[in-house]
Symmetry: C2
Subunit: 799 residues, 2 copies
C-alpha cells in the first residue's frame, strides 16, 4: 500500500527536493529528540558528554508511542502554512503524545515566549526536559499549559468535535485534527465524523481530520488498524469524506508521500472553498481527510530483549525502564538519542540551527502561537439586548401561567441577531421542544445534508443556520467547547436527565477552565459555557422514571468553585436575568435549571433583578413573620419547588393565621454554601439572618435533597434543616402526583411544618387530616382522569 487516494487526483511522487527533504526530516528529528529527552533526561540535554545514569530521571513517565507521528504531521503542516500563508491550528487527539506537540512549540520559540525559563538554549532545554511528567509541573498529555492547544489530551473522544467547533464561523481557518486510532473507538469520536453535515464551506472553516493508525492502544491493537483497506476506505466514504492514505515507515518515502498528499489536500480545500464561495447555492462538499498509517513509536528502538517495540503496543509509554541501574539500557537510550544526530540540529548554545528554524512559520502563523488557540485574545463581548424587553408582565404574583423558557427564546433570538458571527445555540433536537424556537426567526438550524421539498413547511433548516442540532450531546458539547475556546460565545440546552451523557465532558472542561484561570496566566479569558437544563425531573409526564434525574448539579458541585455556578430561577423573569448575567460572564460553567412547561409567574422584572443580584432572599409577600423571628422558615429552590412551597404557605396562612412563617427563595444554589467554600457563598451572619439559628427550616428543593445538606452542613442551623426533594420515586405521574410521591408537594410540606413547630403540636390534628385527605383525593383524581385538577395552580399565592 502506499501513496493513494480514493480520488483520481494524481499525486506527485517526489514533491520535496533534496534540501526540503533534508530540512523537514531535520525538523522532525529535532522533535523526536526532544520527545525522548523529555521522557528520559534530567540533565545533559544536548548530549555534549556521554550519557551517565545521573542524567536520567529517577522515574520515567510519559508516552512515546503517539509522539513521533504528531510531530511528523506538525512538521509537514508547517511547510504548507509557510508556503500558502495558511491560518491553521492543531488538535492533538492522541493526547498522551504530548511530547509530539511540546517539541514543536519549543522549536517554534513559542514555548520560550510564554515560559521564559524554558529558553531556547541548553539551560532552557534542560528545564524543558525536566518539567515533563515531573511533580509540580506538566503532564504527559497535552494540558492547558501547552501553547497552541485548546484540547486536553487526557480523556479521549472529543478532538474531532472540538476541531469542528473551532472551525465554525472562522472561514479562513483550517483545523488540522490528528485522531488516534484508540480514540477513534470511542462513541463520541465515532459520531463526530458526521460533523461535516453541519459546516458550511462559505461561512465556516475547514477541519482536516488526520487519522493516525499507529495500530495500538495501551495493550491492544486498534479496531480501525485491523480491518481491510476496503472497509476502512468505505467507512470514511460513508462518513462523507474523501480519504487519502499515507502509509509506511521509511522516513524518506513517507516525507515525500505526506508532502504530496498535503499538497493535494490543500489544493482540494482551496478548490472547495472557492467553488462554494463563488457559487450561488451551497452544497455539502466531500471534504478530504487523511489516513496516516505509521508505526507506533516510529523512529524509536525496533526491538528490545527480542520483543518488537517500534510498531507495537510496547512502544505506547516508556519503551524500557531501569536506565539508571542498567548499563545496557543506558546504552540503548544513548544510541537512540544520538540516532537523531542532535549535533546537526542544535547550535552550540542549544538553539535550533537557522536552516531548520526557517521551516517554521512566523509569529501568529505558528500553530503553537495562533491566536485561535488562545481564543480569549480574540473574544469580544457579546452585544446584548436589554432583557427587560422580553419580560413577562406580572401584575400580581402567582396568577398567570407561562412557559418559563419561551421569553428566554425570544431574548436568545435577539442575542443571535446582534452577534451573527460569534454566537450559537446548541441542543440535541430540542430547541423547539424546550420552547426556544423564536430563535429560528433570526437563524435556522444549519443543515448541510440533503434537503427535501417538505422541509420548507416548518423544517426550520438552512445551509447558513446558526442553531446546532444533532442527537448527540457529546458532539454538541464538543462543538460548543471548541467554539468557546476559540473566542466565541454559546448556549447549550438539553433535557436535565440526559445532561449526564456529558458528565465526563463537563468534568474535563471544568478542570481545563480551573487550570487556565488559576495557573496559566498567558491564557486570556474565554466566554463561560452556558448550560440550560430544561425538561426537568418534575415535568416528565409520559416519559416517566427514566427521564427523572436532577443529579447533574450534584456533579457540578464537586468541581472547582472557581469555575462552577448553578442557578435555579423560579420563573420566566428570573430566568431572563440569569441568562443575561451568564452570557456576560467568563471562565465559568453556568448551569441553569429551568423547566419549559407552563409555570406560575412570581416576580416582576424589577423584582427579578434584585432577587437574582442577591441570589437568595426573603419573599415578603409570602411571609407572615412581619420581620420578626419566625416560628418556621419555608425555603425553596427551583420552579416547581417554589410553587409548591408557596402553595403550602397559602394553606398555612389561611388555616393557621397565627403562625409566623418566613419564606426564602434561592436562585443561586451556591448561596447555600459558606463564602469560604465558594465565591458565591454566604457569610455565616447572612445565612443565619435568613434561616435563623434555631428555628425549623423546611427546604423544598428541585434536586436530590441531600445536595442541600452537602452544601450547607457547616452553617449553624443546619441540624434544623429538613430538606425535601426528588428521591427516585416516580414513574408515569401527573405533576402533582410526582410531587406527592417525593413529598415536595404543598400538602406534605404543611405536614412537615406541623411536625416541626413545637407550639403547633397537638393543636392541628384537623389540618393534618385535611392534608392527608387532600393527598388521597388528588391522587384519585389523577388516576381516574389522567390529569391533575385544574385548580391546583390557582391556590398558590396568598391574596
Amino acid at each position: 500500500m502506499g501513496n493513494t487516494a480514493s480520488s483520481d487526483i494524481p499525486l506527485q511522487a517526489t514533491p520535496l527536493d533534496n534540501d526540503e527533504l533534508r530540512a523537514i526530516d531535520g525538523w522532525w528529528r529535532a522533535c523526536n529528540y526532544l520527545s525522548v529527552g523529555m521522557i528520559f533526561l534530567i540533565d545533559n540535554p544536548l548530549l555534549r558528554e556521554p550519557l551517565k545514569p545521573e542524567h536520567v530521571k529517577a522515574r520515567l513517565l510519559g508516552h512515546w508511542g503517539a509522539s513521533p507521528a504528531l510531530s511528523f504531521v506538525w512538521a509537514h503542516l508547517n511547510r504548507l502554512i509557510r508556503r500558502d500563508d495558511l491560518n491553521m491550528i492543531f488538535m492533538a487527539g492522541p493526547g498522551h503524545g504530548a511530547p509530539g506537540v511540546l517539541g514543536p512549540a519549543w522549536l517554534e520559540g513559542t514555548y520560550s515566549e510564554v515560559y521564559p525559563d524554558k529558553s531556547e538554549d541548553a539551560e532552557g532545554m534542560q528545564k524543558f526536559f525536566k518539567q515533563f511528567s515531573f511533580p509540580g509541573h506538566i503532564g504527559s498529555h497535552v494540558t492547558p499549559e501547552t501553547p497552541g492547544s485548546i484540547h486536553e489530551g487526557g480523556e479521549l473522544g472529543y478532538s474531532l468535535s472540538h476541531a469542528y467547533g473551532a472551525a465554525l464561523d472562522n472561514p479562513d481557518l483550517i483545523v488540522a485534527c490528528v485522531i488516534g486510532d484508540g480514540e477513534a473507538e470511542t462513541g463520541p469520536l465515532a459520531t463526530a465524523w458526521h460533523s461535516n453535515k453541519f459546516v458550511n464551506p462559505v461561512r465556516d472553516g475547514t477541519v482536516l481530520p488526520i487519522l493516525n493508525l499507529n495500530g495500538y492502544k495501551i495493550a491492544n491493537p486498534t479496531v480501525l488498524s485491523r480491518i481491510s483497506h476496503e472497509e476502512l476506505e468505505s467507512l470514511f466514504v460513508g462518513y462523507g469524506y474523501r480519504p487519502y492514505f499515507v502509509e509506511g515507515d521509511d522516513h524518506e518515502a513517507m516525507h515525500q508521500k505526506m508532502a504530496a498528499t498535503l499538497d493535494a489536500v490543500a489544493a482540494e480545500i482551496r478548490a472547495i472553498r472557492e467553488r462554494a464561495r463563488s457559487a450561488g447555492t451551497v452544497e455539502r462538499p466531500r471534504w478530504p481527510m487523511i489516513v496516516l498509517r505509521t508505526p507506533k513509536g516510529w523512529s524509536g528502538p525496533k526491538e528490545i530483549n527480542g520483543h518488537k517495540v517500534e510498531g507495537s503496543w510496547r512502544a505506547h509509554q516508556v519503551p524500557f525502564s531501569d536506565v539508571r541501574g542498567n548499563a545496557a539500557n543506558l546504552a540503548v537510550l544513548e544510541t537512540w538519542l544520538r540516532s537523531y544526530r542532535p549535533e546537526e540540529l542544535f547550535d552550540e548554545n542549544g538553539r535550533l540551527v537557522p536552516e531548520l528554524r526557517a521551516l517554521a512559520p512566523r509569529g501568529p502563523r505558528r500553530m503553537s502561537a495562533n491566536p485561535h488557540a488562545n481564543g480569549g485574545i480574540l473574544r469580544r463581548e457579546l452585544k446584548l439586548p436589554d432583557f427587560r424587553a422580553y419580560a413577562v408582565d406580572v401584575t400580581q404574583p402567582g396568577k398567570i401561567l407561562r412557559e418559563n423558557t419561551r421569553p428566554l427564546g425570544e431574548y436568545l433570538r435577539d442575542v443571535m441577531r446582534c452577534n451573527m458571527q460569534t454566537f450559537r445555540v446548541f441542543g440535541p433536537d430540542e430547541t423547539a421542544s424546550n420552547r426556544l424556537q423564536a430563535i429560528y426567526e433570526v437563524s435556522k438550524k444549519v443543515w448541510m445534508a440533503d434537503l427535501l421539498p417538505e422541509d420548507e413547511d416548518g423544517g426550520e433548516l438552512a445551509r447558513d443556520g446558526r442553531v446546532m442540532e444533532i442527537l448527540s450531546e457529546h458532539t454538541l458539547m464538543g462543538w460548543l467547547e471548541g467554539y468557546l475556546l476559540t473566542g466565541r460565545h454559546g448556549f447549550f440546552h438539553t433535557y436535565e436527565a440526559f445532561a449526564h451523557v456529558v458528565d465526563s465532558m463537563f468534568n474535563q472542561h471544568a478542570k481545563w477552565l480551573d487550570i487556565c484561570k488559576n495557573h496559566v496566566p498567558w491564557r486570556a479569558s474565554v466566554a463561560s459555557q452556558n448550560i440550560l437544563l430544561s425538561s426537568t425531573v418534575w415535568r416528565q409526564d409520559h416519559n416517566g422514571f427514566s427521564h427523572q434525574d436532577p443529579g447533574f448539579i450534584d456533579l457540578v458541585t464537586n468541581k472547582s468553585p472557581s469555575v462552577t455556578r448553578v442557578y435555579l430561577p423560579p420563573d420566566a423573569n428570573t430566568l431572563l436575568v440569569t441568562a443575561d448575567h451568564c452570557l456576560r460572564s467568563t471562565n465559568c460553567i453556568n448551569v441553569i435549571v429551568a423547566d419549559k412547561q407552563k409555570h406560575l409567574q412570581f416576580t416582576t422584572i424589577d423584582e427579578a433583578v434584585v432577587h437574582c443580584a442577591k441570589g437568595i432572599g426573603v419573599w415578603r409577600r409570602a411571609c407572615s413573620d412581619e420581620g420578626a423571628e419566625p416560628d418556621v422558615v419555608m425555603a425553596c429552590c427551583g420552579d416547581v419547588a417554589t410553587q409548591e412551597a408557596l402553595a403550602a404557605t397559602a394553606i398555612l396562612r389561611e388555616r393557621l393565621p397565627e403562625l409566623k412563617l418566613r419564606f426564602v427563595n434561592v436562585v443561586d444554589l451556591f448561596k447555600m454554601q459558606p463564602l469560604t467554600e465558594h465565591p458565591h457563598g454566604s457569610k455565616p451572619r447572612e445565612f443565619d439572618s435568613l434561616f435563623t439559628v434555631d428555628k425549623p427550616v423546611i427546604f423544598n428543593f428541585h434536586g436530590y435533597p441531600w445536595l442541600i445538606h452537602k452544601l450547607s452542613y457547616r452553617f449553624r442551623n443546619h441540624d434544623n434543616m429538613h430538606v425535601r426533594g426528588y428521591k427516585e420515586k416516580g414513574n408515569i405521574n401527573t405533576p402533582l402526583e410526582l410531587a406527592i410521591l417525593n413529598q415536595v408537594d404543598r400538602f406534605n410540606l404543611v405536614i412537615d411544618v406541623l411536625d416541626r413547630v413545637p407550639r403547633l403540636q397537638g393543636r392541628t390534628a384537623h389540618l393534618r387530616e385535611d392534608m392527608r385527605n387532600a393527598i388521597i383525593s388528588n391522587l384519585n383524581y389523577a388516576h381516574t382522569y389522567g390529569i391533575d385538577r385544574a385548580e391546583i395552580t390557582d391556590w398558590v399565592w396568598p391574596e
Copy 2:
C-alpha cells in the same frame, strides 16, 4: 430504490403467497390499531360503537411515529421464527415507539399472561389502552414492565451494544435489533457497530441490526436519512456489514420486500454459522444488516390541516390533539382507527382472530416470552473458587506492599475457568494496566479483526477469548448489561475518573433494576453489575489533574438504595472478600473502589472476612483508647486514605502517648448512612458506639469529602465530623504530594487532631511545627527528585 442488497444474492420478488400476505398484513394492522388505541382511547376499544369524545383520553401522550415500523419488523420476524423455529429476541432501539412493541406482546398473549387484567378480550384491551402513558401505569417508551424487552427505550444509544451483549455465548440466539435513525446519531450507537469485531460465529449468537430510517427525530431530519445511498451503503460496508435495503411505503410491496430480504438474511446467517462451525479456523464474517426506510408514522394520517404528517417529524408523537373538543379531529381519529378494519382482526370478544393468531410463534419462541428477555430465569449461580486461596499472607499489618488488584486478577482467572460459558470480564484496554492479567492464563481477549504474526508475542488475543476490551466504555457497559439481563455474570473495570463516561448508563441501569426488583414481580433476579474503579484519583502520577475524579460514587448515592452498593476495601484481602460477595449478589450495582498500585497490606484473610461482613469496624491494633471513651476518633475509608490515617495514628501514638484515639475503618460506604435510608445503613446506636456522640471525628476519605456529610448528616455526632478528601487540588504530583495538597496526608491529619482535641490545645506547638516541617521537606524532596521518599510507606502501622 427498492429491494436491493449489496450482495449478489438474488432476492425473491414475491415470497409471500396471497394468504401469507393477507395474514401478515392483518397482524400488522392489528398492531397499528392497538398502537393508535393506546395513544388515544380510554373506552370503546373495539369501536363497536361510533367514536365519542368521552372514549378519548383527556390527555394524549405517546409516540406514534416509530411504532408502525417496529411492529412491521416484529410481524415479519414472527413468520421467520415459526418457519425456521428460530430462537430470537427483539431489541427496540426507537424506544419511544413502545406501542409498536406492546401491541405484539398483547397479540401474542404474553401480555395477558403476565398481567391477567389485560386479558385478551374487550375489557382487557380497554385496560391495556388506558394504562398506556397514564398516571400510575406504564410509560410511552419501552420500560421494564414490557415483556420481551431487556432494553429501556428512554435514553437513546445503547440498543446495539445491548444486543451484542445478549448474543455473546448464546450460539443459537438471534438478536434482532431495530435501531432508530435518531439513536444512530449518538456516539454510543455510532461506535457499537464495531461490536461485530468481538463476536465469534462459533460460540456466540447473531445480531441482526435493522436500521429504521424513518427520516425524523423530534423536530429534525436525521443525518443517516439525508445522505446518499452510496454513502449509506459505504458506511455499513465500512463498519463490516453486508447491508440490505428495504425501502418504500406501499404496504403490500413492502411486505414482499421485507419477507424476501429476511429470507435471504436468514439463509445468510445460517450459512455463516454452518461455515464457521464446521471449519477449523474462525474468521470474521460479514454479517448481514438491514436498512429499512419507511415513513415516520407509517399508515397514519397522510396530512392534517395541509401539513404532511405521515413521513414527517409531525408524526413523531401524537399527530393531532384536541380530539375531545373538536369534532373534525374526532372524525379523523375514527377514520384512522377504522382504516385498520378492526372488525376483521378481532373476534366478537375482542380476541385476535384465529387465522392471525396462527402467525405468531408458540410459547417461549414468542419474542415477547423468550426467556432470554427475562434472563433471570436462565441465570445459574456462578461456581466460585474459594477466595481464601488467593489471599496475601499478612503476618504483620502494614509491612508489606502489594498491588491490591493482582490477587483479584488471579481469583477472577479461576472464576472464569469455572464458568467458561457464563462469565466475562469487560474493560477499556486496561485489564493488564489494572493488574488483572492473570485472567489471560485461562482466556484471552476476544479479537475477530485481523491478526498479525507479532500478536503471538504477548498480544493475548484469541478468536475465542472471553475478555472484552475496546476503547469505549459505552460499548463495554452496553455489552455487560445485555449479558447480565440475559442471565449471565460479568465484571467491569475501568479508570475511576472515566467511569463518568458512563454515568448516564449507570443511572439508567439502576432505574431499570429498581423497577424490576420492586415493581415487576414476573422478572426473575439477574446477576448484579460489578464495577471495579481502579487507577484511582490518588495514584495518577503523570496523568495528573484530568485523571483525578472520585465522583462516580457520588452519583451512585443518588440512586435507589434498593440496588446500589459501594465498597472501598483498603487492601488486597478485603478486596477479595468484597469481590466474592459481589459476584454472589443479584439485582444490584456493586461499585468497588480499589487502586491497582502497590499498597500496604493490613488484614489477614480471616480479619478481612470479619471486617467486610461488618462493613465498618474498629481496628483495635491502631487504637489507643483501650476500649474506653476516646479523645478523638480517626476514621477512614479507601486504600490511600487508610494508609495515611494509620500513619497519622502512628505519629500520634509516638508523640502523644497519653492521647486516647480510636481507629475506625469503613469498607461498606453505606454504613455511613442511617439504616432507615439504606439497607446497609447503620442503626443510630451502632453508629454512635463507633463514632461517639460528642468527640471529634477526623474522617479521612477516598472521595470528595462532602459525600460523607451527605450520607451521615442525620447522626448525632455529625457536627463533630471533620472530613478530609479530594478537593480538586492536583496536577502532576507524587502520591504524598497529592495527599498533602488535599490534606488527606498523615501530617495534616495529625494537625487536624491537634486542632480538635481541646485538652491538647496549647501543649502541642512542637508537634505541630514538626508536622509543618515534614510537609515542606517531603514536598521539597518530591520536587527535587520526582519521587517520594522511599520510607514514606515504612512508618504506618504502630509497632
